[in-house]
């Protein structure tokens, strides 16, 4: 009875090594000042993305799924700060006087979830295919590498345009964009994980697992996949901003015919370009800078993660 109690006590006392490792990573990450600043900016953007309950009551509308919800009367564009009310803090566009600040926040609600969807689907598909191909080798590996070669042989933007055009004939709304970007994005993750899987495959613990009779599936999912996760996280954080950019670019190029008033950063910037010739810069520059800050912040986090997860730095 007593011995059982002691063993129970020992169990609760035992520290979780994964938690310790996580705490150590966090400590290193916070020490890295630029990465930490990037993280704070990303968190602010995330909060903006979530808090959509604030602005409808100010604007007298509840449908934030269209840019036209943010219209404030008619007239020429209002410069930043001069307008009345916080929602006109960053100015308005002309014609409909779309208030840029809340429209930008609503745009985040479209952009950031799409970016996450693309990256996560791409990473999951790419990681599984890449790990399997690196671990199993042989003809499968050769096939996967040739397929990724094909995808890498065309610039991402052109590839995405071709897929969007094709998928738009059958899918509604923003789905063709997401699908097209996932299809163009998975090969990056497949390449990254395949290279890592090749090195992990020849390590002792995998050999031990094989000798102990672990199945291929168990080897891939339990032994190899967890060890390629951290580089994948780095890649994900670097890609988040790029995808928002490419998405905005697709809108700019005019592939938004299905949804011309979607609140989206690229769409807002396209509307802003119209006011350029008269010297009204803010409808273009404010959303543009908003997007650039997000991309830089995400990149800083990615660079910081890479440094922190690098075993040479950890020691």
């Amino acid at each position: 009875m007593e011995s059982a109690n002691i063993s129970l006590g020992q169990k609760t006392d035992r520290r979780n090594p994964r938690l310790d490792s996580f705490k150590f990573t966090l400590k290193l990450f916070i020490k890295n000042k630029t990465a930490f600043v990037g993280l704070i900016i990303v968190v602010i953007y995330a909060i903006f993305t979530i808090m959509d309950f604030v602005y409808p009551q100010y604007l007298g509308t509840s449908n934030i799924n269209t840019i036209l919800s943010f219209t404030n009367g008619v007239g020429g564009p209002q410069p930043p700060i001069t307008g009345y009310g916080w929602w006109r803090l960053l100015g308005t566009t002309g014609y409909n006087r779309i208030a840029i600040f809340p429209a930008m926040l609503a745009a985040l609600k479209v952009d950031i979830p799409i970016s996450f969807e693309v990256v996560i689907f791409g990473a999951v598909i790419g990681a599984i295919i890449g790990t399997a191909s690196g671990f199993l080798g042989g003809y499968l590996d050769e096939l996967v590498m040739r397929v990724t070669d094909v995808f890498f042989s065309v610039p991402f933007l052109i590839m995405a345009i071709a897929f969007v055009i094709v998928f738009r004939t059958t899918l509604p709304g923003l789905d063709p964009f997401i699908l097209a970007l996932v299809i163009t994005w998975w090969p990056i993750y497949a390449r990254v994980t395949r290279g890592l899987a090749l090195t992990i495959k020849s390590q002792k613990f995998v050999e031990a697992a094989v000798a102990a009779g672990a199945s291929r599936a168990r080897n891939i999912f339990v032994h190899v996949l967890p060890n390629v996760l951290s580089p994948i996280f780095v890649q994900i954080s670097l890609d988040l901003g790029t995808i928002v950019q490419i998405f905005a670019t697709l809108f700019f190029l005019g592939f938004a015919a299905a949804s011309p008033d979607t609140p989206e950063l690229g769409n807002l910037m396209v509307q802003g370009i119209n006011y350029f010739p008269t010297g009204d810069w803010w409808p273009l520059v404010v959303p543009g800078v908003f997007l650039v800050i997000f991309t830089i912040a995400v990149n800083l986090v990615g660079d910081g993660l890479r440094d922190v997860l690098d075993p040479r730095v950890r020691r």
Partner: protein
């Protein structure tokens, strides 16, 4: 001798990739509805009942159906599609830039894109090598931080935003709109394509054609046109260069910092080589080698940027050609031209593969250790 085998093997590896690309494009053709396929089968000159008749014939010619109207199975159609690609039957398209066979359109507009990429690459090299050397020789200094911010913004800024910002900032200082416009007084060697653009002969690149004709005939107006075309290139080239520089600088800097700690640098310093020569001859030369390996990747980003830049500046290259085809001409009045988009996809793919081949060969030439 060994290099020749390496190049041959490298070309052989290219073949399955090209086949894979055509297969991918062929599969995309099979995902779109039928009206988009039939729209591009015959020349837009056929109209009404005549058009329906022509489409029926074209379906047989293009290998979509047998003569009796029965559909041909998909695996056979792929080979018929390859045959069409090889003999130049790339389908027809209608847009405000070009109307006719897609391959002819690409041949007309591609040299303009080539001109743009040539200038962007040259400017990038001229700027990045001295700048990268300067920054790389002083890691963690103020200049390095400035370079880092420059790289980061270049990477994070969408090309269309940068291009528009450049237009606001410098557009009014450049004599882009003037009396010496090829459009206002077209020279005899510029041909209209039926759309709103002029195509110059013989190389289809306005800057070089202007110079060629100036040297051939001595007509001052030709030189002025070449100069005007060059001025029109400034902002597009600047936009592309900014995006490229961000990548190149990062790699040159990393290479410099890496090779700075090598033994041969210590040796050179200790035997009394001037610091200037150490940086130029010992560090920089070795730092540029790894930079060459990423040139393929950078060229890919350059080609992607070309699409955006051409659209912003309405520069008549194949990027704008593809966007116009994809959007179906002006204000969506026409159907999307699937043949135009997929044709350009194929062309971009092949160019990029060739560029990568060239990069690999250069790398093997420079660094004799590399033989796969």
């Amino acid at each position: 001798m060994e290099l020749k085998y390496y190049i041959m093997r490298r070309i052989l590896v290219l073949i399955p990739t090209v086949m894979g690309l055509t297969l991918l494009v062929f599969l995309l053709f099979n995902l779109v509805p039928e009206y988009m396929i039939t729209a591009g089968l015959v020349s837009p000159h056929f109209q009404g009942a005549q058009r329906l008749q022509a489409i029926k014939i074209a379906e047989v010619v293009y290998g979509l159906t047998y003569a009796n109207g029965q559909p041909i199975p998909i695996y056979l159609r792929y080979f018929l599609y390859l045959k069409d690609l090889l003999i130049g039957n790339w389908g027809f398209m209608t847009s405000n830039m070009f109307t006719g066979n897609v391959l002819t359109g690409i041949e007309l507009y591609f040299p303009n894109t080539l001109q743009l990429t040539i200038f962007a690459t040259i400017v990038t090299f001229i700027v990045s090598i001295p700048l990268g050397t300067y920054i790389g020789a002083r890691p963690n200094s103020g200049a390095d931080q400035v370079g880092r911010i420059f790289s980061l913004t270049g990477y994070a800024m969408p090309a269309f935003f940068l291009a528009d910002a450049l237009v606001i900032a410098f557009g009014k200082y450049l004599p882009i709109v003037g009396s010496i416009s090829p459009l206002a007084h077209p020279p005899p060697w510029a041909l209209s394509t039926g759309g709103s653009y002029l195509i110059s002969t013989p190389t289809h690149m306005f800057v070089f054609d202007g110079l060629i004709h100036f040297f051939a005939t001595g007509n001052m107006y030709d030189l002025q046109i070449a100069e005007n075309a060059l001025i029109h290139l400034i902002l597009p080239v600047l936009t592309l260069t900014y995006g490229l520089l961000a990548g190149v600088l990062r790699y040159i800097r990393a290479g410099m910092v890496d090779s700075m700690n090598q033994e041969y640098v210590k040796t050179a310093r200790s035997k009394g080589v001037l610091e200037k020569d150490v940086i130029k001859k010992h560090i920089r030369k070795n730092a540029l080698i790894p930079t060459i390996t990423v040139m393929g990747l950078l060229f890919a980003s350059l080609l992607g940027g070309v699409v955006v830049v051409e659209t912003v500046f309405l520069y008549p290259g194949i990027g704008l050609f593809a966007v116009n085809a994809a959007l179906g001409g002006t204000a969506g009045q026409l159907q999307p031209q699937i043949y135009g988009v997929l044709g350009v996809t194929l062309v971009f793919g092949i160019i990029l593969m060739l560029a990568n081949l060239v990069v690999d060969v250069i790398y093997a030439l420079i660094d004799p250790r590399i033989r796969y």
